[in-house]
Symmetry: C2
Subunit: 281 residues, 2 copies
């Protein structure tokens, strides 16, 4: 019996061309990512979202600042060069992570946060136009809504959400970035920088499924906050925060992934963070 | 004029099927990895190669050990829970990176190491069978050669090379892992743990193109080294080292990538490192 398919004027020669065309389309798809140029980590475009740690690093006005003590630097008796330092820092200074326990008793310490929560697809919500006009700017539900309208999608499940206020351009000028060069309790009322409104934080928890949040200011809550309600809302739900991020201006609104690897301090409430973004090919 | 292509018995209907088939093959290829299951970072199997930092963390016998001072832990006057700590550490303790400048004057400090050198395809050379029999074991050119024979390939260009000695199973038992529980200068002669022989380090520099090396002992050089020649050879060529790695037993000989993100200490000779491996799909 002659198979009906061929009766449609579809000869064996054409069928072979069809197969070849299909396979040509498939080839790269079936090759593991590591062997295709655009998918290897070492060939992707990387952006470092981290400020370095030095005497200039911005800390909370009541927190211990970064210190580096040189133990040795020079040529040893045995004839080789050697240098090493000791460091001291508050967990919460410079580019760092807030672990859930920082403001939520019994929640995850920094070493307990699953790595899966700290890496993966991310988005950037740019509020810099308004936040650069107003050092007390509160990121709103409207700001999130505008991103979703412009991107024509809800924030995808499992996203890491970054807010770009533009204030990283002031870093490490404490007067401009924190609102004051003073230190100590008496400086607390002079803190002025944007943060995430408690309403926006609660909206994200109630309506979207996010892994973590981050921004380019010293705190998830704005400078004038006294009750740190945004911290409490997010960290109580085991959603960690990334603070004092750098180079967010280099990121698009979507189409990138981030990797946030904090120092693994046992029982820590946070700690120094090295965070990078990887552009999707 | 009728176009000759159609004269080959290749009607417009068949041409459209051909196009559809090709596009079906292409579809996933043109979709960014973030939307395909196997290519997203957040869906890949991850291994944490990092020991945590605590009072138990293993340091060089002459180095300052890890300290955590609790600044506050409890409910504040305003009624919310809060906790934060200060930390002190030598750059070189626990899971950490040796920046090139550590043993090579004028070479890269930890903040200057390009991120591209710290991530990408990696291999594991397992020397545990011999190294667990001999605490003074020196990893040799033969060990590297054996990996290349077994994998049937030279170490690929741009690899990060990890050596698994099995000694991480002793961590943090200082007597077993370092060879001594003593501290200070007088303990230096009692250090016993495996390292990379200067000959193997030089062979890698001369014959292969590697980005970085790492192992699960306290030092690139073995415990009895007095001249730290392996450090000098590798770091002089701006090849950083990862020390006191964890969980290498969970890695295959090849087919994985690593991401090593150190604390970004300006001018640092090294520092706390969070390092992970990602299995190729």
């Amino acid at each position: 019996m002659k198979f009906g398919f061929w009766n449609l004027g579809f000869g064996i020669w054409n069928f072979l061309i069809l197969c070849a065309a299909f396979l040509a389309g498939c080839t790269q798809q079936t090759t593991p990512p590591v062997q295709t140029a655009n998918n290897t980590l070492d060939k992707m475009k990387i952006v470092d979202l981290t400020h370095d740690f030095s005497r200039e690093t911005v800390y909370w006005v009541t927190a211990k600042e970064f210190e580096l003590d040189t133990v040795f630097a020079g040529v040893t008796e045995q004839g080789f060069y050697y240098t090493a330092n000791d460091i001291t820092t508050a967990e919460h200074g410079g580019t760092h992570i807030d672990a859930p326990i920082h403001f939520a008793e019994g929640k995850l310490t920094v070493d307990q946060i699953p790595l899966e929560s700290l890496m993966g697809a991310a988005i950037k919500i740019d509020v810099s136009e308004k936040a650069l006009q107003d050092p007390d700017y509160l990121i709103s539900v409207d700001d999130i809504d505008r991103w979703e309208q412009e991107e024509n999608t809800p924030i995808p499940d499992g996203s890491i959400v970054l807010f770009y206020t533009g204030h990283s351009t002031y870093y490490p000028d404490k007067k401009k970035y924190l609102g004051t060069e003073q230190r100590g309790e008496e400086a607390l009322d002079s803190l002025h920088f944007p943060g995430i409104s408690p309403e926006a934080a609660q909206w994200l928890i109630d309506n979207r499924n996010i892994k973590a949040v981050g921004l380019d200011t010293p705190s998830l809550d704005y400078g004038q906050s006294k009750n740190f309600k945004t911290h409490v809302i997010l960290l109580s739900e085991n959603v960690p925060g990334f603070e004092n991020l750098a180079n967010l201006e280099q990121l698009p609104a979507s189409g990138f992934q981030v990797i946030a690897l904090p120092m693994k301090i046992k029982g820590g409430s946070g700690g120094p963070l090295r965070m990078i973004a990887i552009m999707n090919p």
